[in-house]
């Protein structure tokens, strides 16, 4: 189990940042919401490890792609909200583009052996 989650996290490392940025495109959100949105949207296939979510958020903040502020959550609790910056929006578009190219390329390669693959795109 521990090994499996370890390898999942490895795989997700590059994509988690991208998915966080994409999630924030729809509006400001705090950590819990971000995790929930990613999980829901992926029809619960992806599970966001909290152990990687917060470091990823801080990393994005260091790079200037998101900014943060303290505010009240939907349930009126104090929570740290993250907002996409202008640079973050550009980055999100760039990554989405790159991702589409990548999955297409992988799909082409994988498609020759298993036509039903490439579902992630």
């Amino acid at each position: 189990m521990a090994h499996k989650s370890q390898s999942d996290r490895e795989m997700l490392k590059g994509t988690l940042d991208m998915m966080i940025l994409r999630t924030l495109m729809t509006g400001d959100a705090h950590g819990h919401t971000i995790a929930k949105v990613i999980e829901r949207t992926s029809e619960d296939i992806l599970e966001v490890e909290q152990g990687s979510l917060y470091p990823a958020l801080h990393r994005l903040e260091d790079r200037g792609w998101v900014s943060s502020y303290w505010g009240a959550s939907e349930n009126n609790r104090k929570a740290k909200f993250y907002r996409l910056t202008a640079a973050g929006k550009k980055q999100s578009a760039r990554e989405a583009n790159r991702w589409r190219q990548m999955t297409r390329a992988i799909g082409l390669v994988m498609g020759s052996e298993s036509p039903s693959g490439g579902g992630l795109g």
């Binding site: 950590g31 819990h32 909290q50 917060y54 801080h58 260091d62 609790r77 929570a79």
Partner: protein
């Protein structure tokens, strides 16, 4: 990771904590909404989150710089351990402050005085050339240049070098219309291009022109910046004004920049007034080949070098010697860089002092290393436990290094302050030292200090750190057992350190001993007369107002009569240059009654003008014949009194009285009427044969007044000065000092060097002694059990005392032998600093050895005595 995050780690960790709490609450609230019990909702939320500590750690690692973090942690640890033993830290910092302080101070002096380029444009191209006398190889080869030779040199080297000459040992009586007191000032005559060759532009006005460097030109003068500020209140309109030099009007054409100082092996750094040599010097001097009054400064053009120029000039000089066969025409040339010329005399002493201070620092480092080793040993159990729990060896060494870095950084900060103070003191006490104005702490010095701090830290830290083996871990943990013989290898390391420390101390002590002995010799040297209770002062009569010789004589005679009439003046006299006051001029003489001698055999004799009262005032004994009579003056002043050495050299085996002498470059003949005792012209120089002729006549316009009293001779200075100003209020008086003070001035270098070196040696001795004491004390604490058992089993106390003493003295003996050997090899390097003292002076070596053994015994005796008094019961219970 950013620096901002790094320094805000704690805050961002708090924020993360809050963020995680918020997440848990959100998740729990959702679970609650799904219908779970509050308990279950919180539990599920926690499960979903996972371990919050892992998140915090991940983020913490992401936000930190590992090396820096470790360093800060080590630093905190070091501060904590050091503050737990304040005594140790205080002593170590003090020791390092001393060591680093003297090193930084001396490095600053060496760097700024010996190494920093002169402040002139392209100063690497500037050289000073001298005449050289190859017939006289024992003499200092750098001889001042005759103006005639300079002119020939300049002609021959026109294509390869710019040449200027300067005569920096002139003086003027400066007065002006403002009614200020007249002053006697050091001055220089220089050729018009002197400043342009150096590349110095006037700060105000302009430099000399070729037209002003002629006898027929209008008199012009350039002022040193300090003179302009002090005497003329920085008057911006000074250029074009008239000032009076020796009662003649001179137009000020320029003021030199504040930074400008001319330094040569023959002085020049006190020159305040610059005039053009073509206007000032008599034409006969300017064409002479045997009157050496000038220094020659050369700026080489590109693509040529000094040795080529010197070869060229030497050939010219050889030609000059062939065509002018006078006794004092030299036959060669020699040169050196202008920087070397200015500081050559300081090289050996300064490098010797720097080496000595480096020894002190090395000893200081070893002491600190010793202290650290002792602490490491005392904490060996603590360290063993830590390595058993997985503390890496590297980490432990890093801790030692951090600790010693902290100590040496504190020592370095203190040392920098100490060096600053020392430099202020040096600049204040040694204004005579060349380039002293250039000494200041700059970037290079700061970098040097940082380097020294790091070296000290590495040295002390690594030595104490290398003893940290993991092999004897178990043994350390079992320290309680009586079988364990505490850290023998570490004790061995300390003994070796100690022996080296003592060896270095011996070298320092011997160097200091030699210099001290040399200084004592110098101070005890007899200048030929009793030097106490004699006051000297200098006057010079302006030749404009005292044009005729009879006017000068009349003034001198009146003056000395009045001085003799003053109460408490026992005797007084006049002389051109008093004994111990300096070179004062020399000429070669031939005996008229003897067959002509070859040029190399002519006797070079110091010449002084004297008044008969001088011999009485100086107590120079009359050995044969008589002194001058009162009618032997002016045109009848052709009699001389010679010193005993002159009599031996000129008239070996003959009676000189009644014989005649003739200067080899003149036609007058002088009759020898008397022989007097010898005197020295400089305290550290060999006695020269001396000749006196009457100061009344023989063209003297300057004189030194010599007055002797039975006691408290300084109090005569004011009455004598009053007498002078009554006779002529515009006459300045200079060099008012007792003969003792005058001699003191010429021994100041020796005094300075020996004092500093003795100071260093004493510091080294104290450090070495405390090191010896510390090591022995430490060894004894380690062996308390063993000694307790020995006493319990009936060992004699005397036997124990001997055992411990021998144990402690062994490194001292080794150190002594090493030190004596090293000294024998190195003292030759300071030979030039020693006066009538051999480098391998046996007395110094013996005294140093005995002193060192005595101190070592004293340092060992205290712990040894304590050990032999040990109460066995208490010793055995000490665990």
């Amino acid at each position: 990771m950013t620096w901002r995050r790094f320094f805000r780690r704690n805050r961002s960790d708090n924020e993360l904590q809050q963020e995680i709490d918020a997440y848990l609450q959100e998740e729990a609230a959702e679970n609650l909404a799904r219908g779970m019990s509050p308990e279950e909702a919180r539990r599920r939320a926690h499960i979903k989150l996972g371990n919050p500590l892992v998140i915090r750690e991940t983020l913490g690692k992401q936000n930190t710089i590992a090396v820096l973090d470790h360093f800060v942690r080590d630093l905190k640890y070091a501060v904590r351990t050091l503050s737990r033993s304040r005594g140790f830290a205080g002593i170590a910092v003090l020791v390092l402050t001393l060591g680093i302080g003297v090193n930084v101070a001396l490095f600053t002096v060496v760097h700024r005085v010996l190494l920093a380029p002169l402040p002139y444009r392209d100063s690497g191209q500037l050289f000073t050339v001298y005449e050289r006398d190859s017939h006289n190889p024992g003499r200092d080869p750098f001889l001042p240049v005759a103006a005639g030779s300079f002119a020939e040199w300049q002609r021959s080297a026109a294509g390869s070098a710019q040449m200027a000459m300067v005569s920096p040992w002139q003086d003027y009586n400066v007065s002006d219309a403002g009614g200020k007191l007249p002053e006697k000032m050091n001055a220089a005559w220089c050729s018009w291009n002197f400043f342009s060759v150096l590349g110095v532009n006037a700060a105000l006005g302009r430099g000399f022109t070729p037209d002003e460097d002629r006898p027929s030109a209008q008199a012009t003068v350039m002022l040193a910046h300090s003179l302009w500020v002090r005497r003329y209140n920085s008057d911006p309109g000074i250029v074009g004004k008239t000032i009076w030099l020796d009662a003649q009007p001179y137009t000020v054409i320029g003021v030199l920049p504040a930074w400008f100082v001319y330094s040569s092996a023959f002085g020049g750094n006190t020159v305040q007034v610059w005039t053009s040599v073509g206007h000032e010097a008599p034409p006969s001097l300017l064409s002479a080949f045997d009157d050496h009054e000038f220094l020659v400064v050369v700026r080489l053009i590109e693509h040529t070098n000094l040795s080529r120029l010197v070869d060229q000039l030497a050939a010219v000089q050889k030609q000059i010697e062939a065509t002018h066969p006078l006794p004092t025409v030299h036959d060669g040339a020699i040169g050196r860089s202008m920087l070397d010329d200015a500081v050559e005399n300081y090289k050996t002493p300064l490098y010797a002092l720097l080496a000595a201070s480096a020894c002190v620092l090395l000893i200081a480092c070893m002491n600190v290393a010793n202290l650290l080793v002792a602490r490491t040993s005392a904490r060996s159990k603590d360290l063993a436990v830590r390595s058993a729990l997985g503390g890496s060896r590297l980490r432990l060494i890093r801790e030692r290094l951090t600790e010693s870095l902290l100590l040496s950084a504190a020592g370095g900060a203190g040392g920098l302050l100490l060096a600053y103070g020392a430099i202020q003191w040096l600049v204040h006490t040694r204004p005579d030292m060349r380039r002293v104005e250039a000494i200041q702490i700059d970037g290079t010095v700061a970098a040097f200090t940082a380097g020294v701090i790091i070296l000290c830290a590495m040295f002390a830290g690594l030595i104490s750190g290398t003893g940290l083996g993991c092999r004897d871990l178990l043994a350390s943990l079992q320290d309680g057992s009586r079988l364990h013989s505490g850290g023998r290898s570490r004790a061995g390391l300390r003994r070796v350190l100690l022996a080296i420390e003592i060896g270095l101390t011996v070298v320092l002590l011997i160097g200091a001993g030699l210099l001290l002995k040399s200084y004592q010799r110098l101070r005890n040297t007899d200048i030929g007369v009793p030097a106490d209770n004699v006051l000297t002062m200098h006057i010079s009569l302006p030749t404009v107002r005292y044009k005729e010789p009879f006017q000068q004589v009349a003034f001198f005679e009146q003056l000395i009569e009045r001085v003799r009439a003053l109460p408490r003046v026992e005797s007084a006299g006049l002389v051109s240059t008093a004994a111990g006051e300096g070179w004062g001029g020399d000429r070669t003489f031939a005996v008229v009654e003897h067959p002509p001698v070859s040029k190399d055999d002519a006797v070079d004799i110091h010449v002084r003008g004297a008044e008969p009262g001088y011999f009485a005032a100086m107590q120079i004994p009359l050995l044969r014949g008589r002194l001058f009579r009162s009618h032997e003056r002016l045109s009848r002043a052709n009699v001389v009194v010679i010193s005993q050495l002159a009599a031996q050299k000129l008239f070996p085996g003959e009676d000189p009285i009644g014989k005649h002498l003739r200067p080899t470059n003149a036609d007058q003949v002088y009759e020898v009427v008397g022989v007097v005792g010898d005197t020295r012209w400089h305290i550290a120089a060999t006695i020269k044969p001396t000749l006196y002729w009457p100061i009344y006549g023989n063209d003297y316009s300057v004189a030194t007044i010599v007055a002797r009293s039975t006691n408290n001779v300084e109090s005569l200075a004011l009455p004598v000065q009053r007498v002078i100003s009554e006779l002529d209020p515009t006459l300045p008086v200079s060099n008012v000092m007792t003969l003792q003070q005058a001699i003191g001035l010429s021994t100041i270098d020796s005094e300075f060097d020996s004092t500093l070196l003795v100071l260093f040696a004493v510091v080294a001795l104290v450090l070495a002694a405390s090191g010896l004491y510390g090591v022995l004390q430490y060894l004894l604490t380690q062996r308390t059990n063993e000694i307790g058992i020995r006493i319990a089993l009936g060992a004699q106390r005397a036997q124990l005392l001997r055992l411990v003493l021998i144990d402690g003295l062994r490194p001292a003996f080794f150190g002594l032998i090493v030190g004596l050997t090293a000294s024998a090899a190195t003292v030759r390097l300071i030979r030039s600093m020693l006066y009538e003292t051999q480098p391998l002076d046996p007395a110094v070596f013996v005294v140093v050895s005995l002193a060192l053994l005595f101190v070592a015994c004293a340092a060992c005796l205290v712990p040894a005595w304590a050990a032999s008094r040990l109460d066995p019961v208490r010793a055995l219970r000490a665990e």
